[in-house]
C-alpha cells in the first residue's frame, strides 16, 4: 500500500503510518487465518476423505499421469441415514434451548436486582458472581456429581431426615444434565444482562411512570425492549457453546441424553474415525452458523460505537 509519505514515524501521517497500521492489523489477522480459518477448511477436506487404518487417505493422489480426486461423501450419507446422529443433533439443540431459557429466567431478575441495588454494593455483588466463574468449571460440575449421586449429599440428607426411604434417581438424567449446564452457563447470561441494565437511563422509566404506566407495564414496555441486546448477547453466549458441550454431558448426562459433542468425541477417540468426526463437526458448524452470525452482528454493533 503506497502512501504519499513513506516515513512510518512522520508527524504528518494519519495517526499511525501505513507501516505501523499494517503491522497492527496483519499480526492478529494472519494468526487468525492460520489458526482459526484454515483448520475449518482442513476439517471440511478431511470429512470427505477415508480413514486408512491409522491415518486418513489424501483426497488428491496421482498415478500413471492421472490426478485423482477422491471425495467420499459417504460420511454425510451416514449422518443423514443413521438416526443416532439426527437424534443427537436434535437433542443437543433441544437441551441447549432449554438451558438458555432457564438461564434467562434465573439471570434476568438477578441482573435486574443487582443493577438496581445501591451503587456501593454493586462491586461486591459483582465479585460474588464472578468468583464461581473464575473457579474451575470442571470442579464445579464434579461437585454436582457429589450432590446428586444416589449415595450423594442430597440423597444422604433426605434419607437421614426420613424424607424418603430410597435414594431419588437424580444423577445421569436429563435433569442433572440441564442442571449442570445451567449452573455452568448462568454467569455468562448474568454478565451481559447486568452490563446492559446497569447503563439503562432510569429517567425513561420515571417518564413512563409519570405518564401513568404501572411498574409492571413500564418493565415490559421499556426495560425489556431496551435490554434486548443484552438478552441476545447472553442467549448466544449460552446457546451456541451448549450445543457442542461435551464435558457436562459426559459427567452428568446419561443414556437418555445424547449430545452431539459427545458423539464427535466418541467418533474421534473411541472409533478413531477422523473423517466421520470431521463431518459431524461440519454439520454442527452448519447448525450453529445462524446463531453465530447473530452473535457476531450484535458484537459488531456494540463495538461499532467507536470513540466518544
Amino acid at each position: 500500500m503506497a502512501t504519499a509519505n513513506r516515513n512510518p514515524f512522520s508527524l504528518h501521517s494519519k495517526f499511525t503510518g501505513a507501516w505501523g497500521r499494517n503491522a497492527v492489523i496483519s499480526v492478529p489477522m494472519v494468526f487468525l487465518l492460520l489458526v482459526f480459518l484454515l483448520p475449518f477448511l482442513v476439517v471440511f477436506k478431511i470429512s470427505l476423505s477415508e480413514m486408512d487404518a491409522v491415518f486418513f487417505r489424501e483426497i488428491l493422489s496421482w498415478r500413471d499421469d492421472v490426478v485423482v480426486l477422491t471425495l467420499k461423501y459417504g460420511n454425510y450419507i451416514s449422518l443423514v441415514q443413521d438416526s443416532l446422529y439426527f437424534n443427537a443433533y436434535l437433542s443437543s439443540l433441544q437441551i441447549a434451548a432449554i438451558t438458555t431459557l432457564v438461564c434467562l429466567f434465573l439471570a434476568y431478575p438477578f441482573a435486574y436486582f443487582m443493577a438496581r441495588s445501591p451503587a456501593n454494593r454493586r462491586p461486591a455483588l459483582l465479585m460474588l458472581v464472578m468468583l464461581p466463574f473464575w473457579t474451575s468449571f470442571l470442579l464445579r460440575v464434579y461437585a454436582w456429581k457429589m450432590l446428586l449421586a444416589d449415595a450423594g449429599v442430597f440423597n444422604n440428607a433426605a434419607m437421614a431426615l426420613g424424607l424418603v426411604s430410597e435414594p431419588i434417581k437424580m444423577m445421569n438424567t436429563p435433569f442433572s444434565l440441564v442442571l449442570g449446564m445451567v449452573y455452568t452457563y448462568v454467569p455468562f447470561m448474568i454478565l451481559p444482562l447486568y452490563a446492559n441494565l446497569v447503563k439503562m437511563d432510569l429517567r425513561l422509566l420515571e417518564a413512563a411512570l409519570d405518564l401513568g404506566a404501572t411498574p409492571w407495564q413500564a418493565f415490559w414496555r421499556i426495560t425489556v425492549p431496551l435490554s434486548k441486546s443484552g438478552i441476545i448477547a447472553g442467549s448466544m453466549l449460552v446457546f451456541i457453546p451448549c450445543v457442542g458441550e461435551f464435558v457436562i454431558p459426559d459427567l452428568l448426562g446419561g443414556p437418555e441424553t445424547l449430545m452431539i459433542g459427545h458423539v464427535l468425541w466418541d467418533e474421534f477417540f473411541s472409533n478413531n474415525d477422523w473423517p466421520m468426526a470431521a463431518s459431524v463437526a461440519v454439520v454442527m458448524v452448519g447448525l450453529i452458523i445462524i446463531p453465530l452470525a447473530l452473535f457476531n452482528k450484535y458484537q459488531a454493533e456494540s463495538t461499532g460505537g467507536g470513540r466518544k
Partner: protein, 280 residues
Amino acid sequence: MKTSAGKITSHAWMLAVFVFLYLPIFALIIFSFNASPMVTNWGGFSLRWYAELMEDREIIDGFKLSLRIAFATGCSSVVLGTLAALTLHRFKRFPGRTLFAGMVNSPLVMPEVIIGLSLLLTLVSVQRIFGFPARGFATIWLGHTLLGMAYATVVVLSRLQEMSASLEEAAQDLGARPLQVFFLVTLPLISQAIASAWLLTFTLSLDDVVISAFLNGPGSTTLPITIFSRARLGLSPSVNTVATLTVLVVSIGIFAASILMSRAEKKRALEMAAAYRKVD
C-alpha cells in the same frame, strides 16, 4: 425497588441464585475434609487427603505443566488480543474487517470440540508434510491462545471504547509520534484492562479440558485432563482437595485484585479531579 414487597423479592431472588451458585463449592470444600474415602459419607474430620495430595505425582506434574501453559497463554493472548482490539477500535475500514471481527469473536462461543478437532487435524496434516510440530506443550499453548485471544480482545476493546480519545489526540497535538502515543498514553490507560485480560486468559487456560485433550501428546497431561479422567470414574477425594485449594487461591486473588482496583480507581479519580481543577 421502592416497595418493601419489591425489596423482599429482590433480596430473596438474589439470595436464591447465590445459594445455587455457591452450594456446590461449599460442598466440595466441606467434603475434602472427610476422613472417609467414600466422599459423600461423612466419617469425621481429617486432613489425610491433603497429605496424600503432596505425594500425588500425577496431579503435581499436571499442575506444573498447566501453570506453565497458562502463563504462556496469558502473555500471548494479551499481546494478540490487544493488537486485535486496537485494530477493531481504531481502523474502521480495511479489506476483510468483517471477516476479522467474525474470526476474533467466534472462539468465544464456538464449541471447544470443534476448535480442538479442527486444530488437531490441521496440526497433524502439517506434521505429515513438514515433520513438526510434535503434539505437546506448544500445540496446547496454540489452542489456548486462540481461545484466550478472543476473551482478551473483548476486555481490552471495551476499555478502549470507554477511554476518551481526546487524551491520545492531545498527545499527538503536543508532537508525540504514533509509537510514543501508544506506549506513553494508550498503554498506561488500558493497563488495567490488559492485566484483567491476562488473569482471565490465564484462568481459562488453567481450566481447559477439551482443547487440551485434543492437542496434548504423550507426556503432556495437564491438570484438568487428570481431574477429568478421575471424575469420569467416580468420586475421588483428591479432586475435592484440589477444588478446595483452587477456591482458596481464586478467592484470595479476587479479593486482592478488587482491593487493588478500588484503590487505583480512587487514585485515578483524585488525579482527574485535580487535573480539571487546574484547568480552571
